[in-house]
Amino acid sequence: MTNNYNPLLEMRNIRKDFFGNQVLTDINFTLNSGEILGLVGENGAGKSTLMKILFGMDIIKETGGYDGDVLIDGKKVEFNTPFDALEAGIGMVHQEFSLIPGFTVSENILLNREPKNPNFASELFGDRLDTLDYDQMEARAEAAIDKMGFSIDRKMIITNLPVGHRQFTEIARELSKEQLKLLILDEPTAVLTEKEAETLLQSIRNMAQNGIAVIFITHRLHEVLDVCDNVLVMRDGYVVKNVPAKETNVAEVTKMMVGRQVDTAASGSARDFSNSRNAMTIKKLWVDMPGETVRNVSLVVKEGEILGIGGLAGQGKLGIPNGVMGLYDAGGEVEFYDEPIPLNNPRKCLDASIAFVSEDRRGVGLLLDESLEWNIVFPAMQVQNRFLKKYLSGWITWRDEKSITNITNHYIEKLAIKCTSSKQKSRELSGGNQQKVCLAKAFSLNPKFLFVSEPTRGIDVGAKALVLDALKKFNRENGVTIVMISSELEELRQICDRIAIVSGGKIAGILPAEEPSEAFGMLMVSQVK
């Protein structure tokens, strides 16, 4: 029944505003069956809003709907709920997993669409009491997994699966829907290792060959160019360009996304600190952080340097700062300028003027429902008694709203935080700007030593450059020793002086940042268990 003259999906003059704030302006594009469209743009460019419109999410309707037309197979449609969209053959894999942890892969794939057998009870009380037909379920789950071209164990329980396989389970779930014509993948490779990402790209190609259209959203540009037929670049709610992937390259796309040249080359400005004082000495550290266990780490951080800690996901690099800062159970010895720091007590680290920017921005890093002011000054207020007015010889400590607003505005300006005012809630900011707030929070403590964990995770190229730059400046201008943990080696090589690679919960080696990537790559896999 597919009409050959009409594209599978056409979006015409889509406009959307949130209370007068224009987020999408005149979006036009078409997508044919079997085509892969890469959707790229900085955070806040409007990608997710566009997909929410396509998928009929409630938020769009609640905020006054949208203008323009969505056409499927040449017919105008308007989805009021995601169910309408599912009905029309649109599937979406979200960034966050929506799987039931205790169920098997097959059960998750066919959830609520299980093949069923009627039985005595269901004859009486309706089909909700049908028994599940497990043989059929396995068969259908298998078919869906085959379609994907990547094999996962159908009988495994989700909790026992590696993260990558969970992602594949989600995709298989969408593929198992027979009416599926269009699949939206929102940053599917963000949690995958490189090997898994490669497999995913291959399976996207397979799907396209089977006639399914795919919209692929990601920050990893080389993947887009690798797998997509067309690339749709968005910026500030406009489509900047829609080009065939063959006719462009990463540099060009990056430039279109941010509207300016982004310097991605390694700086090669690594400095030598071997004669400096020891700022922090870590001996035999173990940290019990789920998924990021640290087994035995000994490490010396020199005063004034930027030390990078890299490694594959799950090898324990994130456990190091979280353990030292007392957020997870830890043991071992940590000395800061020859003074021992007790573990498992965040306050003691803060008192010693060590600050931490957590990788879990929304969970640990921010007070989502409070103003930027609170977010930025809270630790300084609690730990250092700053931004307070004292009355009755210190018995009453009153928030000094004026100095709080001043310092917040100072950081808003310095870090170019995009917001309506210092009173705006941090929840309302985009990922990149939230990260800047987290940095400002750490900066406002005036620390001597700063742990920064995954500062660029999930933020776009432009914001990434600004964040890295701010860190570098903070190190150079204030002489602050920085330990930066990141999964992106290139980013570490860009700003660090030395890079330590963690593998299997131990330090596999420390190399100067100018060493070639291959040397680091070898270290990363050296102790993997």
Partner: protein
């Protein structure tokens, strides 16, 4: 041009929707209902000034009990369904003050003083318990409240009270269910600076006392400790990473809530004129909880304005419905409406509880 008008209109519509959202649909409905009652009152022959006096009176009795919700909401312990624990501290304070022979204003002052150590002991145990079961506070709080009331039902009989003003007449031991505070602290606050304008009388003293406590609460939330309390409620992980002792702050909030419950019931008694023992505290948490919710608070955010607005609306309905409804349909609907409003409001708020 046309486009601009639509966009402007949409903006306007958005702003109105936003305003309704911030004010809250339930609050809007209840306020409208109360307004209707005030308008209808003279039509069915009820005297407006008397009605208003009653409403203000009841507001002054209940406001501090509602205020007792605020600290625990701020620290993320949820709605204080364990308010009866605070009330029991207040009852102990009140009865002991009478037992020790204090009279007049002194008995009220001493009641608060005596209630304080009980509030601290009970609150500490209650807070310790709530720190053990983070995430399920409200459920546990409800049962803490209920079981403490039942336990005290036994104690009121067994404790060696001797004052003839309070014990059962025949046996001479065990406290009576209702004890008059006449001659002790009956209306000590209400009669202070009372304003009388014809039929309208305003218990200015009680209102001032509430204003004082509310001001202290407001001020507390502006201090360093108060700020940490709000942050703990907003995101405990953030507060922990910022070096705040989360358990300690939560414990403090429970202590404050419990103490405010104790003071609240004493203020209630001085207005109402009686100490009610045994099962009376059992249901006292629900009206307070629903009042603050009507005032626009949520499970994890509350302000002093929420307390004032909520108490006024809730008590307004409680006072107005009997007179207006009864004269209209000659049937006692007021209790039914009160229960629907209070429980419905709690149910509504719990369904709207934000995740995490």
């Amino acid at each position: 041009m046309n486009e601009q008008i639509t966009s402007e209109r949409r903006m306007y519509r958005g702003a109105v929707q936003n305003a309704i959202k911030t004010f809250g649909i339930p609050r809007l409905i209840i306020a409208a209902f109360l307004l209707t009652l005030f308008i209808a009152a003279p039509l069915v022959g009820a005297d407006f000034a008397t009605q208003l006096t009653n409403t203000i009176n009841r507001f002054s009795w209940n406001a501090i009990l509602v205020l007792a919700m605020v600290p625990m909401i701020h620290s993320g312990c949820g709605l204080n369904f364990g308010l009866p624990l605070g009330i029991i501290s207040g009852l102990l304070g009140g009865t002991l003050s009478i037992e020790f022979g204090f009279t007049g204003a002194m008995s009220f002052f001493m009641a608060i003083i005596i209630a304080t150590p009980f509030a601290i002991i009970f609150g500490a145990a209650y807070g310790w318990l709530l720190n053990k079961i983070k995430g399920g506070e409200m459920m546990i709080a409800t049962y803490v409240g209920f079981s403490s009331v039942s336990f005290m039902c036994i104690m009121w009989l067994l404790l060696p009270y001797k004052s003839p003003n309070m014990v059962w007449g025949l046996s001479g031991n065990g406290l009576r269910t209702t004890i008059s505070v006449e001659g002790f602290y009956d209306k000590v606050l209400a009669n202070f600076l009372q304003i009388n304008l014809g039929k309208l009388s305003i218990p200015l003293g009680t209102l001032l006392f509430f204003a004082l406590i509310a001001f202290l609460m407001w001020a507390f939330l502006h201090t360093k400790t108060g700020t940490s309390m709000t942050a703990v409620g907003s995101n405990p992980a953030f507060a922990k990473a910022a070096g705040v002792n989360v358990d300690k702050v939560r414990l403090l909030s429970v202590l404050l809530s419990t103490w405010l419950g104790a003071v609240g019931i004493l203020v209630y008694q001085q207005g109402f004129g009686f100490i009610q023992l045994y099962m009376a505290p059992f249901y006292m948490a629900l009206p307070a909880v629903s009042a603050i919710l009507i005032g626009g608070a949520s499970v994890n955010k509350a302000s002093i304005a929420n307390v004032v607005i909520g108490t006024f609306l809730f008590q307004g309905i409680v006072t107005m419905t009997p007179t207006v409804m009864n004269s209209m349909i000659h049937m006692d609907m007021s209790e039914v409406i009160r229960i629907i409003v209070s429980n419905g409001m709690i149910l509504y708020a719990l369904t709207r509880k934000m995740e995490g």
